[in-house]
C-alpha cells in the first residue's frame, strides 16, 4: 500500500535518515522505534505528504503522495500528531465529528455519520464526556479525543505519532488491542518508545539507528535483544527485555 524508495531525510542539512526503502501493506501493524531526534516524526510527516520530499519517493497505491489533493489524502490517511495544537472552544463530540469531514464535505445529510462518530466515542470511552468543552479535559482525556477523531475518519492508512502518550497503563493495553484488531483491514503505522507493547501487538517494526540506518521486518525476526542493543544503543536489562 505504501512504497518508500531510497528515501533520505534531512533537517537543515543534517541528514537524519539514510537511504530508506520500505514496503508496507494492508493488514500490517508497524512500529517505528528510534532514539529522540532521529527524525521519526519527520518520517511520518513525509509518508503522509505533510512535509514534501523532493523528489517524492513515497508512493501510496502506486501514486506519488504529493499528487494527492488535501481532501483525497485525508480520505486515505488519518494522522495523529504527537501534540495537538490548542484551538478555540469546541466540545468533545464536535471535535470527533470533524474526522468525518473528508467524507461529507459536499454532503448535506450526515445522519449515517453519527454511527461512526458514536462508535469512535465508545472505543475511546468518551461517551460521558461528549458534551464537555475540550478546555476542561485532562491531558489523557484530550489524547483520547484526538485518537477518537482519527478513528472516526476511518481511512485505510492510520499514522500515529506516539499514541500512547498521556494514557494510563490500562488504556494503553486497550488501545493497542484496538489498533491490532483494526490493522486486519488497514495499514497502521505508529511511532512509540514503549517497546514492551511492540512485541505483543505489532506485526512489523522499523528500527532506525543513531546513524540514520534503518532495519525493518517482522517483529519476531527483528525485535531481538541484540538488535535493541546495537541499534538503540541501550543495554537490554530489566523486566521489559526478558521477553525479547
Amino acid at each position: 500500500m505504501i512504497k518508500i524508495n531510497q528515501l533520505n531525510l534531512k533537517i537543515e542539512n543534517k541528514i537524519l535518515i539514510k537511504n530508506l526503502s520500505l514496503q508496507l501493506n494492508k493488514g500490517e501493524f508497524w512500529a517505528i522505534i528510534a532514539r529522540n531526534g532521529i527524525g521519526k516524526t519527520t518520517l511520518l510527516k513525509t509518508i503522509a505528504g505533510f512535509t514534501p520530499s523532493e523528489p517524492s519517493l513515497v508512493k501510496i497505491k502506486g501514486r506519488n503522495i504529493t499528487e494527492y489533493s488535501v481532501l483525497e489524502r485525508a480520505q486515505k490517511i488519518s494522522y495523529l500528531e504527537q501534540l495537538q495544537e490548542e484551538g478555540l472552544d469546541c466540545t468533545v463530540k464536535q471535535a470527533v465529528s470533524y474526522g468525518r469531514y473528508p467524507w461529507h464535505k459536499f454532503k448535506l445529510d450526515n445522519s449515517d455519520e453519527t454511527k461512526l462518530i458514536e462508535k469512535a466515542l465508545m472505543d475511546m470511552d468518551l461517551q460521558d464526556l461528549q458534551n464537555k468543552n475540550l478546555k476542561k479535559l485532562s491531558g489523557g482525556e484530550l489524547r483520547k479525543v484526538d485518537i477518537a477523531t482519527i478513528l472516526s475518519q476511518n481511512s485505510e492508512i492510520m499514522i500515529l505519532d506516539e499514541p500512547l502518550n498521556h494514557l494510563d497503563v490500562a488504556f494503553r493495553y486497550h488501545l493497542m488491542k484496538l489498533l491490532k484488531n483494526l490493522s486486519q483491514k488497514k495499514l497502521i503505522i505508529m511511532v512509540t518508545h514503549d517497546i514492551q507493547y511492540v512485541k505483543e501487538y505489532c506485526s512489523h517494526v522499523l528500527m532506525i539507528s543513531n546513524k540514520g540506518k534503518g532495519i525493518s521486518g517482522k517483529v519476531s525476526e527483528i525485535m531481538t535483544a541484540e538488535n535493541v542493543k546495537n541499534i538503540l544503543e541501550i543495554e537490554p536489562v530489566g523486566e521489559i527485555f526478558k521477553s525479547l
Binding site: A48, F50, S69, V70, L71, R73, A74, Q75, S78, Y79, E81, Q84, E85, E86, G87, L88, D89, C90, T91, Q94, A95, Y98, G99, Y101, P102, K105, T149, Q153
Partner: protein
C-alpha cells in the same frame, strides 16, 4: 430556531425605535404619513440601512479574523488592512478633496487591496502562517495609525472634528449606496459556504489540514473577504470599534461554535448593536450627534461581561 426569531424580533424593534427616534420624534402611527415622508425615507432609512450593513460586515469580519489568527482578542482592524483604507480616505478629507461617495469608497477599497498585497508579501514567505500574519499585520497597523495621527496633528482645526468623529466611527457622513448592500449579501453567502472549513480551522491549522481542509486556500479566502468587508464598513462609517471584537464572542456564547449558526447570528447581532448605538448617538444629546463608536462600546461591554459571567 427560536433564538433566531428572538434575535430578528430584537432587530425589528430596534429598527422601529431607530426610525421613530431622533432630534424629531415621530409617533409610531404616523411613521409613514405624508408629514414625515422626507425624514423617514430620505434621512432615517438610508442611515438605518448603513448602520445595519456596517454592523453586519464588521461582525462577520471579526468572526473570520479571530478564526484566521487563532486569537480571541483579534478584531477586524488588527491586521491594519483597513487602517490603510482609513489613512487614504482621511488624507482625502484632510486635503478637502470631495469625491462622489462611490468614488470615495472605491479609493478606500483600492487602498485595502494594496495593503493586503503588502501584508501578504511581508508575512508569507512560504505559507500563510497565522503568527506571521498577526505580527506583520499589527506592525503595519501601527504604521498606518502613526500616519493617521500625523494627518490629524497637521490638519487645520476645522477639519479635526470630522476626522476625530470618523476615527471613532460615525454614520453621519455616509449617504445611501446600493454597493454595500450587494457586498453584504454576496459576501455573507460566499463566506457561508466555508462554514465547515471554519469549524475545523478553529481547532487548529494542522488539524484542519490533516482532516482534508485546503488550509492555504481557505485562509486566503478568509483574509481577503474579511479585509474587503472591513473596507466597505470603514468607508461607510469610519472605524467603529468593539463590534467586530465582541459580537463574535456574544454569538459564540449564545449559539456555540458551529459557524453555520455563528455567521447568521453575528450578522443579526452586529446589525442590531450598531443600529441601536447609532440611534442613541443621534438622540440622547440631540441636536448634537455623538460618534457611534462610543455607544457600541458602552452597550457592548456590559452585555459581554454579563454573558461571560453567566457562562463561566
Amino acid at each position: 430556531m427560536r433564538q433566531y426569531i428572538a434575535l430578528l424580533l430584537l432587530l425589528l424593534v430596534t429598527i422601529i425605535f431607530s426610525l421613530t427616534t431622533g432630534s424629531i420624534s415621530i409617533p409610531l402611527a404616523e411613521m409613514f404619513s405624508e408629514k414625515y415622508h422626507t425624514i423617514i425615507f430620505e434621512i432615517r432609512i438610508p442611515r438605518m440601512a448603513n448602520a445595519i450593513i456596517v454592523g453586519a460586515l464588521l461582525s462577520v469580519s471579526g468572526l473570520m479574523i479571530q478564526n484566521l489568527v487563532k486569537n480571541p482578542l483579534a478584531d477586524p482592524y488588527i491586521l491594519g488592512v483597513s487602517g490603510a483604507s482609513a489613512m487614504v480616505q482621511l488624507l482625502l478629507i484632510a486635503f478637502g478633496i470631495v469625491l462622489p461617495f462611490s468614488l470615495f469608497m472605491l479609493t478606500g477599497f483600492m487602498a485595502t487591496l494594496l495593503a493586503l498585497l503588502l501584508l501578504l508579501l511581508i508575512s508569507s514567505k512560504k505559507s500563510l502562517n497565522s503568527t506571521n500574519l498577526l505580527l506583520s499585520g499589527v506592525v503595519l497597523a501601527f504604521a498606518y495609525s502613526a500616519i493617521i495621527s500625523l494627518i490629524l496633528t497637521l490638519s487645520p482645526t476645522a477639519t479635526t472634528k470630522p476626522i476625530l468623529f470618523w476615527l471613532m466611527g460615525d454614520l453621519g457622513y455616509s449617504s445611501f449606496s446600493l454597493f454595500p448592500i450587494i457586498a453584504l449579501i454576496i459576501g455573507s453567502l460566499w463566506i457561508f459556504q466555508y462554514h465547515k472549513e471554519l469549524d475545523l480551522l478553529a481547532r487548529g491549522e494542522f488539524f484542519a489540514l490533516k482532516c482534508g481542509v485546503n488550509v492555504r486556500k481557505t485562509n486566503l479566502v478568509l483574509l481577503v473577504s474579511a479585509s474587503l468587508f472591513t473596507a466597505v464598513a470603514v468607508s461607510l462609517a469610519g472605524t467603529i470599534g468593539f463590534v467586530g471584537l465582541v459580537i463574535p464572542h456574544i454569538s459564540r456564547l449564545i449559539f456555540g461554535n458551529k459557524h453555520a449558526k455563528l455567521i447568521p447570528a453575528s450578522i443579526i447581532l452586529g446589525a442590531t448593536l450598531v443600529l441601536l448605538a447609532d440611534t442613541l448617538s443621534r438622540w440622547l444629546f440631540a441636536p448634537t450627534q455623538l460618534p457611534v463608536g462610543i455607544f457600541t462600546a458602552l452597550f457592548g461591554v456590559p452585555v459581554f461581561l454579563y454573558l461571560l459571567r453567566k457562562n463561566s
